[in-house]
């Protein structure tokens, strides 16, 4: 077993991103879909951290802190929206809002 290299980190990030993507594509539940988007975020964040460590500077970390802060703000907003949507139709099914298409 060798030391952890860059590609290991990248693989973890890619796997997290893929799980999030698949989850987003297959599930109908708004909260689960929302969780999946968060998963994709973290996959990308791991990528950034890995490159920051690999290059030995803090640019990637600074990015990640930005991303996390924005993700937190966005999470509070999105959850509020989901709650509102739920109150409208008493369901979390995304397909219930099909009539919103343009």
């Amino acid at each position: 077993m060798t030391e952890l290299a860059l590609q290991h980190y990248l693989a973890v990030g890619a796997i997290m991103f893929a799980i999030g993507l698949i989850g987003f594509m297959t599930r109908r539940n708004l909260i689960v879909m929302f969780l999946c988007t968060e998963l994709m975020f973290q996959g990308v964040a791991i990528n950034l951290i890995a490159f920051a460590r690999y290059h030995g500077n803090f640019a990637g970390q600074a990015f990640v802190i930005f991303v996390l802060v924005i993700a937190a703000a966005e999470a509070s907003l999105a959850l509020g929206l989901v709650v509102l949507l739920f109150r409208q139709k008493n369901t979390l099914d995304a397909d219930a809002w099909r009539e919103m298409r343009g």
């Binding site: 993507l21 987003f24 594509m25 297959t26 109908r28 879909m33 995304a94 397909d95 809002w97 099909r98 009539e99 919103m100 298409r101 343009g102």
Partner: protein, 723 residues
């Protein structure tokens, strides 16, 4: 001259009525209400006082004028040299400036346009101002009693003030653009006041008709002003002064300037008077464009008196008199004006013979008298034309106001077949309207007699046929005027039934006055606020003629002849005389001295013609009314033709309005189907595209969108990596 109060503060003359109009317009509806006449009374009254102060001041400076030299000093006719002109320019502020002054070679277009807000004050302006503000003031006084209780009381007075403002700008304007401003301003006020009873369709139609017919004339006027600027490089009448060759009129009078022009510019100089003339014909209701004036009687009667008889409609005469220099050397233009004026005079007089509506009779007689004035200016007797304008303003305002009193008393009824013997009901009005009729008919020694016969005499010296036409018109005028007078005021008493006008009889009610309940039989029909203006105007109508008494040293004619416009016009006319015609009417060399025998003979002739007309009317419309009806039956065809006003309105409807409307429909169809079709086609393409997207991609599934996005990202990545 410069230090006269009224010259220094000349801007007050238009400004005060404008302030009055603003006050009663903005504060009338809520606060002033039935007191809305006060701002206008004060404003117009003060402006009238200033105008008279100006006139008197100019009289005091009678001999202190500026000498106008002939622009071509080389001419052998030295006798006409060095007339005293009386004029002053009162500068207010620079109104407009565009472009820059560059050196102009012959044939170049001017590069600098300036228009100054300034007053050019000369005898012509002073006399016009006194007529406008003086008669305007008495009419506003009359309006108080006449319009009392109307819903739009404040509106009426605000428009009236605005009108006086525009009219004073018109007569004071130092340049053509200011003249045009006033010209359009009075047109607007005329439109607003004709449509005063806007809830009545006929009033709306009449207002639109007046406005649109005037547009045709104003189009020509506008072109004329542009041509003036193009050729003369300025719009100012006199530029830097009478003696300099810097203004339109002084340049037009200068042969050096004319000879320096290129051929196409000379051609333009020839056509300028025709363009200006078109404007004058529209505003002053001459032959092809007179149709709006009879319909304009839809407005309240004081408006008919002020705008459509005394002042606004004479603007065309004023304009041609002011621009005499442009016209005097252009024989074709003069003949055109003379012919159209005489033709209009006789046409309108014939139509007036078979009108039954008091105001319509007076409207046609206004058109006819304006024809006289045009003949006056066309035969180079503008002083006579302006003199007739002044006397006409007095007696026609008097006649209209009197018919307003009749209408007031008869609950809006104006049909002379339904009334008779009113002198028992309206004694003062009877006397006043009698004086007005005498003046209009040209009865000896009443104002209209002097002014009309001045014009007739001048017309005879131009061509005998022109004079004969005018004499015939005088006869018809005397006849139809007294036909009205004897029918309405003499004979057995017949009063139209008041309730007929009360209950839903909108058609009878058609002339401006919706009268309140007429239950009180002893109601005073002649309140003092209406009678005082009437009496003042009647005095004016009798004595205005003596202003120009030939023996007087300081007569109106001699005063007017000091206007630089007339002096320069005379110089131009003398340089290029029309064959077989010696103008005498500029009144420059002791008026009446040279042409005295001619004047005397036409005066006797004119008086006889007027008396004959009056006697005929007496015979047919008082002595034996049955005879008149028999005569009318005998001449059935002619009478029908005249009663229908020679079908001119119908001809215009069929020949002008319908083709235009057809044209409009075709263009509408083109716009609707071809232009709109193309525009809609452009709109359809993206719509179709969007519809396709809606069916394929945008189906409302979030997952679908995510897939599409993923697919898009992958495509981009593939493109990036395979490149």
């Amino acid at each position: 001259m410069q230090d006269l109060f009224a010259v220094k503060y000349s801007y007050l003359i238009p400004l005060l009525p404008l302030i009055g109009a603003a006050v009663s317009g903005f504060f009338g509806a809520k606060w002033l209400k039935q007191q809305s006449h006060w701002p206008i009374w004060l404003g117009v009254g003060a402006s009238a006082v200033l105008s008279f102060a100006l006139l008197l001041g100019m009289f005091q400076n009678w001999d202190k004028g500026e000498v106008v030299l002939r622009p071509d000093a080389s001419s052998p006719e030295a006798t006409r040299e060095g007339h005293l002109s009386l004029s002053v320019t009162s500068h207010w502020y620079e109104w407009a400036r565009a472009g820059e002054q560059t050196v102009i070679r012959p044939g170049d277009s001017p590069t600098l346009f300036t228009a100054e807000a300034a007053a050019f004050i000369d005898p012509l302006t002073a006399v016009m101002l006194c007529v406008v503000t003086g008669i305007g003031f008495f009419i506003t006084v009359f309006s108080k009693g006449y319009m009392a209780g109307e819903a739009g009381y404040f509106r009426f007075f605000a428009y009236l003030g605005l009108f006086i403002f525009a009219m004073t700008i018109l007569v004071m304007g130092e340049n053509l653009v200011m003249l045009y401003l006033g010209w359009e301003g009075v047109g607007l006020c005329s439109y607003l006041l004709i449509g005063y009873y806007y809830e009545r369709p006929s009033a709306r139609e009449a207002a639109k008709k007046a406005f649109i017919v005037n547009r045709i004339g104003d189009f020509g006027f506008g072109i004329g002003i542009m041509l003036c600027f193009l050729i003369f490089g300025t719009v100012s009448f006199y530029g830097d002064g009478i003696g300099t060759i810097t203004g339109v009129l002084t340049k037009a009078a200068s042969p050096e300037f004319y000879n320096g022009l290129l051929p196409w510019q000379k051609e333009c100089v020839f056509w300028i008077p025709f363009c200006l003339m078109l404007g004058a014909f529209g505003k002053s209701a001459q032959f092809p464009l007179y149709v709006w004036l009879p319909d304009a009687m839809e407005g309240p009667t004081p408006v008919s008196a002020l705008i459509h008889a005394a002042t606004m409609v004479t603007a065309g005469v004023y304009m041609i008199a002011r621009c005499s220099t442009l016209f005097a050397g252009n024989h074709a233009a003069l003949v055109t004006i003379a012919v159209i004026g005489a033709f209009t005079a006789i046409l309108a007089a014939v139509i007036a013979l078979r009108q039954f509506d008091l105001k319509k009779v007076f409207a046609y007689s206004t058109i006819s008298q304006l024809g006289y004035m045009f003949v006056g200016v066309a035969v180079l007797a503008p002083v006579a034309g302006i003199f007739h304008l002044v006397t006409h303003a007095f007696f026609k305002a008097l006649l209209f106001l009197s018919s307003g009193v009749v209408m007031h008393a008869m609950a809006g009824e104006l049909d002379m077949r339904k009334m008779s013997g009113l002198r028992r009901v309206l004694p003062i009005t009877h006397v006043c309207i009698g004086i007005g009729c005498l003046a209009l008919a040209g009865f000896p020694l009443v104002s209209g007699y002097f002014s009309k016969d001045d014009i007739v005499a001048a017309a005879f010296s131009f061509h005998w046929a022109l004079g004969a036409f005018l004499l015939l018109t005088s006869f018809l005028t005397a006849y139809y005027t007294f036909r009205l007078f004897f029918r309405v005021f003499w004979g057995p008493l017949v009063v139209p039934e008041a309730p007929a006008a009360e209950h839903g009889h909108d058609s009878h009610d058609s002339h401006g006055h919706r009268h309140k309940a007429h239950d009180d039989a002893h109601h005073n029909h002649e309140p003092p606020s209406m009678m005082i203006p009437l009496i003042v105007l009647a005095i004016g109508a009798v004595f205005a003629g003596y202003l120009n008494w030939p023996e007087r040293e300081h007569s109106l004619g001699a005063f007017l002849a000091k206007s630089p416009s007339f002096i320069l016009g005379d110089i131009v006319a003398a340089r290029d005389p029309m064959p077989g015609f010696t103008p005498h009417g500029f009144g420059l060399e002791s008026p009446g001295a040279t042409a005295q025998p001619l004047f005397t003979s036409t005066m006797i002739l004119g008086g006889l013609v007027a008396i004959t007309g009056i006697l005929l009317a007496l015979l047919l419309h008082w002595w034996n009314r049955g005879l008149a009806d028999q005569l009318a039956r005998a001449l059935d065809g002619v009478v029908t033709l005249v009663e229908n006003k020679f079908y001119v309105d119908e001809i215009y409807q069929a020949g002008v309005i319908e083709p235009l409307r057809m044209c409009g429909r075709i263009l509408y169809g083109f716009d609707r189907f071809v232009v709109d079709g193309l525009v809609n086609l452009c709109g359809w393409i993206p719509q179709l595209f969007g519809f396709g997207l809606k069916l394929t991609i945008q189906r409302g599934y979030l997952q679908g969108y995510a897939t599409t996005m993923l697919f898009g990202v992958m495509v981009i990545l593939v493109i990036i990596f395979l490149r």
